[in-house]
Symmetry: C2
């Protein structure tokens, strides 16, 4: 009986609260869909600045733009957080070709791009085409002096393409060193994508100091298929020329804007994306989208005259792609300053139509949030999953056990453009981009209001 009484007592309050939240989120959504600036900001970032490899001229232009934009959008203060970054350069245009077929002098140029952080080199050798690392181990004695070609494809049966990316990522990151271990002269990989086109996809690789440095590149999928097919029946020779090198390490910055909290100003909610990109395309989905959505959340909270309880930090992280120096620095400083972080959210999965959020946090916190799902459902988010975070904010979770989360946009198109010359403004849809920001703003509002 008592239980029922308590329930009856609280029910109207809860209902009122849900209704108030629903109305506030609708106001934010309307304002974003009608007055949002994310798309225009993305135009500037992609078309006026362009791609933004860490330590490049464009990257510093983007930092300056980010600082100004956060200031103009009404952040209470904007700071640059210094971090040390590598300064990798691609050098001249990468070239990969099949240089002889059946001992004829024919040469076919393949759509290829050197892997990120790889170094200059030339290889001209017979190709050994392998499906995976297991086959490498079995055939390791055949590898010496050859170019290893890992043709590990995306598993197209997964509904979530990130799962396929997760499985095939090791071939890009470790493939060259695994091949070098057995004496390979060079390494080619199938691009990490399930697309229908032939754009090659770059991305981070890592040499192993114990083994030789060899040139390595990713092939567009059509050319990967072509090379695979050629290798099935013939002895194929290929040439790889890459020109990567490092300038000396330098400094870069996380750009941090704050909205000061009222009652809990010393507790921080972080929301961010990364300002750097690879040196191809325009870094539109990866991660211009996350950057402009982050600033859009600031814009709409200001437009609503919302005073947060907690201090909300809008962070444009540096160097996510080839070093993660920005995310590491942010976490280190949080530890050093003994900061209290309530939650951190990243958008770094493309500016596509939103489907939900993924989280790494206590079950109880996740359950609490799942009660909010009806507030997000009108804007396309229907899942709040126990899995997720973001490269730039995972450090907070690892070092300080901060609950972290990420926006989960629809993933079908992401690996069509990811790390390619095709990651350009034109592939971003304005409404999809803005709807992502709507859901991010709603989530941040709810966490600020109700805690975790």
């Amino acid at each position: 009986m008592k239980k029922i009484f308590v329930l009856l007592l609280f029910l109207p309050i809860l209902a009122f609260s849900q209704n108030e939240d629903s109305l506030f989120i609708k106001q934010m959504s309307d304002d974003i869909m009608l007055n949002g600036k994310a798309y225009e900001w993305l135009y500037h970032l992609t078309k006026k600045i362009g791609n933004r490899l860490t330590a490049s001229t464009n990257f510093y232009k983007a930092i300056e733009w980010g600082k100004q934009t956060l200031q103009q959008t009404g952040a209470d203060n904007v700071n640059l957080q210094t971090c040390n970054v590598v300064h990798w350069m691609r050098g001249k245009v990468d070239a990969v070709s099949v240089t002889s077929i059946n001992n004829k002098n024919e040469s076919i140029k393949l759509n290829a791009i050197a892997l990120g952080n790889s170094l200059a080199g030339n290889a001209n050798a017979q190709v050994i085409a392998l499906k995976n690392f297991d086959e490498l181990e079995k055939r390791k004695d055949e590898v010496r002096g050859k170019i290893v070609f890992f043709n590990y494809g995306f598993n197209q049966t997964y509904t979530e393409t990130f799962r396929a990316y997760g499985e095939s990522g090791k071939y890009r990151y470790f493939g060259p060193s695994r091949a070098a271990k057995y004496g390979a002269k060079g390494c080619l990989i199938r691009s990490l994508s399930g697309s229908t086109d032939n754009f090659p996809h770059t991305g981070m690789m890592k040499y192993n100091d114990s083994f030789p440095i060899i040139p390595c590149a990713a092939l567009g999928l059509q050319d990967a298929d072509k090379l695979w097919s050629l290798c099935q029946s013939n002895s194929i020779t290929a040439g790889i020329t890459t020109s990567g090198y490092y300038l000396k390490d330098t400094i870069a910055y996380n750009v941090i804007g704050e909205l000061k909290g009222s009652t809990k100003a010393n507790e921080i909610i972080t929301i961010g994306g990364h300002l750097d990109s690879w040196d191809v395309g325009e870094g539109a989905h990866d991660d211009g989208a996350g950057i402009v959505q982050t600033i859009e959340v600031l814009r709409v909270l200001k437009a609503m005259h919302y005073i947060p309880k907690h201090t909300i930090r809008f962070v444009l992280f540096a160097n996510e792609e080839n070093g993660l120096a920005g995310g590491k620095k942010y976490a280190e400083e949080a530890v050093a300053k003994n900061e209290k972080h309530l939650f951190a959210l990243e958008s770094d999965a493309g500016g596509f139509t939103p489907r939900g959020f993924g989280f790494t946090m206590q079950d109880a916190s996740l359950k609490k949030m799942q009660n909010w799902i009806s507030l997000l459902l009108p804007y396309g988010c229907y899942k709040l999953e126990a899995r997720g975070g973001g490269a730039d904010i995972n450090g907070l979770n690892e070092k300080l056990n901060v609950p972290v989360g990420e926006l989960l946009p629809d993933s079908q198109r992401y690996f069509d453009v990811h790390h390619t010359n095709n990651d350009v403004f034109e592939t971003v849809n304005k409404r999809e981009l803005l709807l992502g920001a709507v859901n991010m703003a709603a989530l941040i509002y709810l966490i600020d209001k109700y805690g975790l």
Copy 2:
């Protein structure tokens, strides 16, 4: 106690059944994602045939292709269902320009396209720019001798773009006759879209026999904004030239492939899309996508060696865009032959990433289906809503009270391409298209197995 006993008795069976369904749907999904032909079929339909206006040469080519493809995909029989259709022709290229600004002789060409089924005409007159029909009624005395420009925009605050389309559709369909009623010489409308580009969108309009026939066209959104802006401060004259005309009515065909049912062969489940398109672009999303998804469902059921209980009809409807003759004929014949129809499903909202289905049916049937949602969730469908059907199958619902439904893909991008030169193969993502087919196949399987 008895209730509990019954529950315990049935629970394992239900669980086993769900598990069996889950496995079967996963097999279908894997087969579609790996071996699906929908994308290659769409390539043929869009690139080898092209747009397919009813009664055009391309349209008849598409009918022939559809017949062959259904046959080759293993339909037990394929029939052509004859229907009478209008034969509208656009004629020469439509031209709309602002011909004088401030009495100077400057002329600005606007991106425009005559509305579908409109007739040839010339108008050169002052523009009266109106927000909506309410304003038309208030200012009806100013309309005579002028060109009426309805600048009714998409409501961008709606998450579902079809809601905005629903609201603004009347300006395309009735706008010209409403303007003619008050003596207008011509009519321009803002394209039915919320896009950021300047493609003009055609689509069906209807003259009213009581009022004069006037030329009418839709403007690209940027040019609609431009004209609106010019009209705010100046007296603007515009010119419209359109060249639409009718050839005499002719015949066309619904293409119908069947999988014969086993135990309930006389009960029909229909699944379809429409084979015709407007005479612009390639009819890729509208509705090449629905056509190839329909045939994909046939393909995968055959690949699974699935013998349906009910007879499943795969219908490529004729003339959805400018007459609906195919859908009407299909329903009429169902009545005439006293056919028993269990359910009909249409895909005609673009080949985008699927989010759910909308239905028009009894509440009890809908509730039954909503129990299946966990079987669709792994493939991106999370909502089974009480709203929906499809132009081609609504006749079945109206005449025979047949439960009908439609695939609900994400709608954010649809009205960027709808009825424009930009509705081309390149705007369709293979995985999104196939995932739509996965969910359609799953739904048809469940309805065939469990009824409604």
